[in-house]
């Protein structure tokens, strides 16, 4: 069971209050009509599947009903941070950290 910090309720809640809502920070292209089919498909269907840090959205469905972002390690399940929609993650350069933390395990 994960304990997830909801940045809106400002406290830790049990995982069962939340539902997973997919990869975070996906920006809708501002001019979809100018994209190639491949670029559009990339935006629409293709998602990261890293072995390491992953920025993802969670939905506090049984609580305040807000979406927010979580940075979670997909190997250890450790949650590095959770932050509001619209905020930037603390660990932008996740790749370097990825390797370190995987080697550490």
């Amino acid at each position: 069971m994960l304990q997830i910090h909801c940045p809106y309720c400002q406290e830790y809640r049990e995982e069962e209050e939340f539902s997973y809502a997919g990869q975070a920070h996906i920006e809708r292209p501002s001019e979809p009509e100018s994209l190639t089919d491949q670029e559009w498909a990339q935006y629409l269907f293709f998602r990261k599947n890293p072995r390491g840090l992953h920025h993802e959205m969670w939905y506090h469905i049984h609580g305040c009903k807000q979406f927010f972002n979580v940075c979670r390690h997909t190997v250890t399940y450790q949650i590095i941070s959770s932050y509001k929609i619209g905020d930037r993650p603390e660990l932008e350069q996740s790749k370097a950290v990825d390797k370190e933390s995987i080697n550490a395990n």
Binding site: C9, E17, H62, C64, Q66
Partner: protein, 209 residues
Amino acid sequence: MSNNYINSPASPLAHTNLAQLAKQHSNVTAGINFRELMLLGHLILRGNANDPAFLNGAQQSLQLALPITPCSSSKNSDYLVFWLSPNEWLIICQQETFAQLTAQLTDNLVGHYALVDVSSAQTIIELSGDEVINLLKKSTSYNTNPDHFTIGKVVTTTFAQTSATIYKAESQRFLLVTRRSFTDYIWIWIQQASQEYGLKILPPAKALE
């Protein structure tokens, strides 16, 4: 303003005849006391908590500041207000005050806001007694430690296999705001979960206190 539930009021627990059960239980003492606070006015208010004009309009209408701290509440003799999310509050009052409150809010609020009458969509179950914390521990994953779940705090969380908004009114008295269609399930759950403590049904009330 027409309110259908005023014309045909019915609690989601009407079929259980709580008033009759309460008569049978009048001499019982039990670890858990159950009381429905039925047919109260429930109003959802939504707006921007960072907008002073919105907060001011709400305060003028309620004679009470909206609780803007997460999971907090505020109250006076007429209203009980729960923080539900950063832009959403639940205001509970007696049915007699409801129309007046709605009119005042409509007068005092400007700009982008929403008022939704959810009175007939939910009800309130009051749980009290020496064993009430133990009953909650069985029913919700929320931390019921008195240092954490303090008096006046209100949390929306899981309750049995559904969810409820739980308000701590006193150290051993809680209000559960439950959705209408789930209330019968919660009623059955509470009866079973409180078997080991004993359950006393109190006469349903149409007021907050």
